[in-house]
Homo-oligomer: 362 residues x 2
């Protein structure tokens, strides 16, 4: 793909990446799973249109039922023709949210997900974005796009809000019963990501543990801890207890995918339960309802910092192309942020930096 003339973009354009510095962009092609997620294709199309209107260096290839996709664009005023920079690859199958990941990837060759992943594999797209079946995205990323040489297991690495900015939880993916060497690579990959993409100097890397002392933990953590201490090129600060994750004591929180999944989902669940409890409290008396009306704008601004959808999707790191998973419940704004996020991976040559940062063979 031809390089577009670089242009300086300010951080305002990236509500999802608040720590990002001013960056220079080049053209990128993103394949999008138009049929994946609870709100597909409506929110996927809406998010795609929003991303295209915010940035003129993105091309998208929507994978899915072309009739349904065209109908969706029609609802947004695109009568008869698609917007510029949008193409569609017609697919006849869909992978459901509850399907067995590997089986679905292997059998449904003409699904929007498999077709999209293959576009990355074949170099026709730089990145693939989906809000569909998480396990299938992870399996497809590894099986179809493929791991970078030397990467043992690609981790899914979402960015979560903290009191002081954002942190990465790595892995939240499919690597349930992890080995110490995988966790060491997660620490390295997370470190490169937080430095190169989020712009944090010397990111603090910690292992999620049940106490601060080195002798604490389960067998995996006890075995991994000394390896992380010896790993060059990362700023390993030791253990992080779960209570310190929301405080932002570490930039990269390393764990196996089971623990990462618990952290990520409890984060979402508890935040939403607490916020509805608070809303309930704020409207429980006449006085409090008046108070709530006065406080609402300020409160909304504060809570926005804890809105996970601001931060775009979670990348599957260590694959030969970029694969990004967004929430199954993603709405247009999250889809838009996820598509915009893809630009930085290419612009910053993330894969190259990862390869060199970890000392893999290029």
């Amino acid at each position: 793909m031809a390089e577009a003339p670089g242009e300086t973009v300010d951080a305002q354009a990236y509500p999802g990446l608040i720590l990002v510095r001013s960056i220079r962009m080049s053209e990128i092609t993103v394949a999008i799973d138009a049929m994946g997620g609870d709100n597909a294709p409506g929110c996927v199309i809406e998010g795609t249109i929003a991303a295209l209107s915010e940035s003129d260096d993105i091309n998208v290839i929507l994978c899915g039922d072309s009739e349904i996709i065209k109908k969706g664009f029609k609802e947004h005023g695109f009568e008869g023709s698609l917007p510029d920079r949008v193409s569609v690859v017609h697919t006849t199958e869909e992978i459901g949210m509850a399907e067995h990941p590997t089986n679905a990837i292997r059998k449904k060759k003409d699904s929007s997900m498999v077709v999209g992943l293959n576009l990355v594999k074949e170099g026709k797209a730089d990145a693939f974005v989906s809000a569909g079946n998480s396990g299938a995205i992870l399996a497809g990323g590894t099986l179809l796009v493929g791991r970078l040489k030397g990467i043992e297991r690609p981790p899914l690495a979402p960015i979560i809000p903290t009191a002081n900015g954002v942190s990465m939880v790595i892995d939240c993916g499919a690597n349930m019963d992890a080995r110490p060497s995988w966790l060491v690579q997660f620490a390295q990959m997370g470190s490169v990501y937080m430095k190169e993409i989020i712009g944090i100097d010397n990111p603090r890397v910690a292992i999620v543990n049940v106490g601060a002392e080195e002798e604490k933990g389960n067998a995996l953590v006890k075995e991994t801890f000394p390896l992380l201490k010896e790993t060059k090129g990362i700023n390993f600060i030791g253990s992080i207890e779960a209570r310190d994750i929301p405080v932002g004591y570490a930039d990269v929180c390393v764990c196996d995918a089971f623990v990462g999944n618990v952290i990520l989902k409890l984060y979402e669940g508890l935040a939403s339960t607490l916020i509805s409890k608070i809303k309930e409290g704020l409207t429980s008396t006449t006085l409090s309802t008046i108070g709530a009306a006065l406080a609402k704008p300020a409160l909304r601004n504060t809570l926005k910092d804890f809105d996970a959808t601001k931060y775009g999707g979670a990348p599957l790191l260590g694959c030969k192309g970029l694969v990004v998973k967004t929430h199954g419940s993603a709405r247009a704004n999250e889809i838009k942020n996820t598509i915009l996020q893809c630009r930085q991976f290419k612009e910053y040559d993330f894969t190259g930096k990862l390869t060199r940062g970890i000392g893999l063979t290029e």
Copy 2:
């Protein structure tokens, strides 16, 4: 110990156990670690005095430096003599929060913790309460008080607030690399506890997992799931994802201690981070500050439901006597609730019900 005439107590007296029904009490002796925790001995003494004044069927034995304890009581107006129903066992050692649990229990024979646990072992006290080193309490409970015959590993089982009441997370203790058979016993013990002590009919038991489907999970969960399905006497409802824990979809959430510790600590950390973010938002503008003042009483009531200290300490289940761990940062109110909680274990013959409920040899 002589049985006191039973009396009916209403739920108002138990702010910590909101679901508890009216209960009948008998006399109980609680050994208390006067030197354990961040706020010892001040808050321990204050909480003890409060518990004694709320209930006249509790006797306490405070273990610790008798001079310091007497001085503490003096500060609460007990000049020259201790309150009725309080005795002191003088100890010369303390177990620090960062000490190696098993070593500390084995070596510090005259520590407040070891002496208190031995009082339970020798039948001189029915229960032991400490806000000290968690690992040492767990190790001491197993090594000194001892497991009930047939119990593989005693789990630590805190009660957490949810949108619909409370749930138990079992295990949050020292059993890091758990075996499936341990988790099955955790499910059984948690079920008896939630039924007998909290008063929930047919408590819903779920295993903490990364998805709803049976084939999801790490090796431990996959192996345990079918065993739980076959376990008689529990109402096993399948997997619970972490996002559904705060919603209260299950009464007993079964997991290994590493995962349980992550859940418990993230719960505490995220709730406190969010609440301070909200406070920050509520006072960020003049209008919102006025609004906050109007809304404060209603909001305070709502947030109280999410105050973990309301629910007393976390029991270590499956030991020959009752051992209860409270937060290291416990203040007087939590100490008080934890001491009051001990009465129910004896009144309800929890150990007897557990033994029969799980089908252990008595």
